[in-house]
Amino acid sequence: MTVLVFVETEAGHVRQASRSAIAAASKLGEVHALVVGDAASVGAGAEAAAKIPGVTKVLKAGSDALAHTLAEPLADLLVSLAGDYSHIVAAASSVGKNVLPRAAALLDVQPIPDVLDIVDADTFVRPIYAGNALATVKSADAKKVLTIRATSFDPAPAEGGSASIEDAAAPAAGDTSRFVSAETPTSDRPELESARVIVSGGRGLQNGENFKTVLEPLADKLGAAIGASRVAVDSGYVPNDYQVGQTGKIVAPELYIAVGISGAIQHLAGMKDSKVIVAINKDEDAPIFQVADYGLVGDLFDVVPKLAAAL
């Protein structure tokens, strides 16, 4: 069995979530990686993918049509390459979730999103109802299309392999779908999905300014990424890409510090697999304390600066 993994790269590096997808795919069989991008930069991404242990071949497709991973040309490319692959796999990232179901429909396959565990080549575990239940499903499709929940599989190492690199025919750019712009704020902080420590804020922070003055000093001390609850994002305290939860990012850092977050089901669905959870909340009945390893009942405006000072 050979598995095709769509691999996302960024500035010549393979994204950690894609390395988790490769780790998951390695449980199924031999792994070929597909790397796409504009013609100028796809080479560096392909070389990074070729170094990942477990990858035996890298297919690279570089064209303007693929520069922004638009779903339409990328799904067509996946379908054209699908051939004899037993499984087509990607990380359950915003790109993977956008592209793989489209490709699956074109292949007449029911995709299996958000795979948490692989039972055998046909059988997979995935969350339903915001993670309140885990369904084990067996696919009758000849070819499987999967997205992988990155936090459930330790990423494959970035170095150590030496796969061959081959060119794949890149689709031509069409006009029906065009990339216009992207607003991707850069930050010196680690990315939420790969951070070792996350400090997250909720309604208790009261405004965006308090994220800066109260949470940031603590995050700085810990080298942490900053996350937020849905309420904090909906209230405009921080941008949408901070959101941790069922409909935001799914994270599982070594240490997750929830500050002023009550712990709605949809937030817990995004962070309950963290190794150690700390909750700081003034409401001692807040549901977040039911999943926290260490709970501190208190006023965050008093406790968080003290905690930052004590580290």
Partner: protein, 270 residues
């Protein structure tokens, strides 16, 4: 009813005169209400849904709202809601019409089909209705598949603007701001097209009592999935459904000092 004209029908006719029609199709799903925490059945064959309150999938409410706003702005002329499932899904369609959808189509199936079958049924409906735009919720909160919109787009060969936080229509295209991992991305897609709604696209309205009454008289057409020639055989068999591993509540600490000590020496994470 924010921004809603007093007589929407005459308002629409006025806007439409001399212009071509612009129809939006909005698929809606009947799901267990989002406030209810479901539990796996004791025998592990599924989740317990008997007797639970059912509602419109929250992302689909956002999709309906967006379609209505586009109509109220004059960018669309008709909003048609469609649901696929059991007879009771007509309640969900009445809700969509009470919010303001003009009419509805119910495609009857014995159970809730998988996204692939749903996409095939919707493709058949699109071919009958020829909408210019289909707006769906990005995912249903029961199976959390996040797939139907993308699959429908693939089957139709239409462009897709998924996880939308803003939609603008102009010159035969939709400009869609999308919520992506790194922030926001804007794409321009040619109509006809598929858009899937993310949380922050809008805040759906509540249906007023007069509009709930009015919705009872709006047309609701019922079809059988088999009439559409779609094979709804499931590709996925549920082997088992189980509770996720429970996380135990830990301890409450009395002070910042104690917290730091525990994190350093017990959890060893700092």
């Amino acid at each position: 009813m924010q921004g809603r004209p007093q007589d929407p029908a005459s308002h629409r006719r006025q806007r439409v005169s001399g212009k071509k029609t612009m129809k939006i199709l909005v698929p809606v799903k009947r799901v267990v209400d989002y406030n209810i925490k479901v539990r796996p059945k004791a025998d592990g064959t599924g989740v317990e849904t008997a007797g639970l309150k059912m509602s419109m999938n929250p992302f689909d409410e956002i999709a309906v709202e967006e379609a209505l706003r586009l109509r109220e702005k004059g960018a669309a002329t008709e909003v048609v809601a469609v649901s696929i499932g059991v007879q009771q899904a007509q309640d969900t369609l009445r809700t969509a019409m009470a919010m303001g959808a003009d009419r509805a189509i119910l495609v009857l199936t014995e159970e809730s089909p998988e996204p692939l079958a749903v996409a095939k049924i919707l493709k058949a409906i699109v071919e009958r209705e020829t909408p210019d735009l289909v707006i769906l919720g990005k995912q249903a909160i029961d199976d959390d598949m996040n797939a139907t919109g993308q699959m429908l787009a693939g089957l139709l060969g239409w462009p897709q603007g998924t996880f939308a936080s803003k939609v603008e229509l102009a010159d035969g295209r939709a400009e869609v701001a999308r919520e992506v991992d790194g922030g926001t991305e804007v794409v321009s897609i040619a109509l006809p097209a598929i858009v899937t709604a993310d949380l922050r696209l809008n805040e759906p309205r509540y249906a007023s009592l007069p509009n709930i009454m009015k919705a009872k008289k709006k047309p609701l057409e019922t079809l059988q999935a088999s009439d559409l020639g779609v094979d709804t055989t499931r590709r996925l068999t549920v082997v088992s459904v189980a509770e996720p591993p429970a996380r135990k509540a830990g301890v409450k600490v009395g002070s910042v000092e104690e917290l730091v000590e525990k994190l350093r020496n017990e959890a060893k994470v700092i």
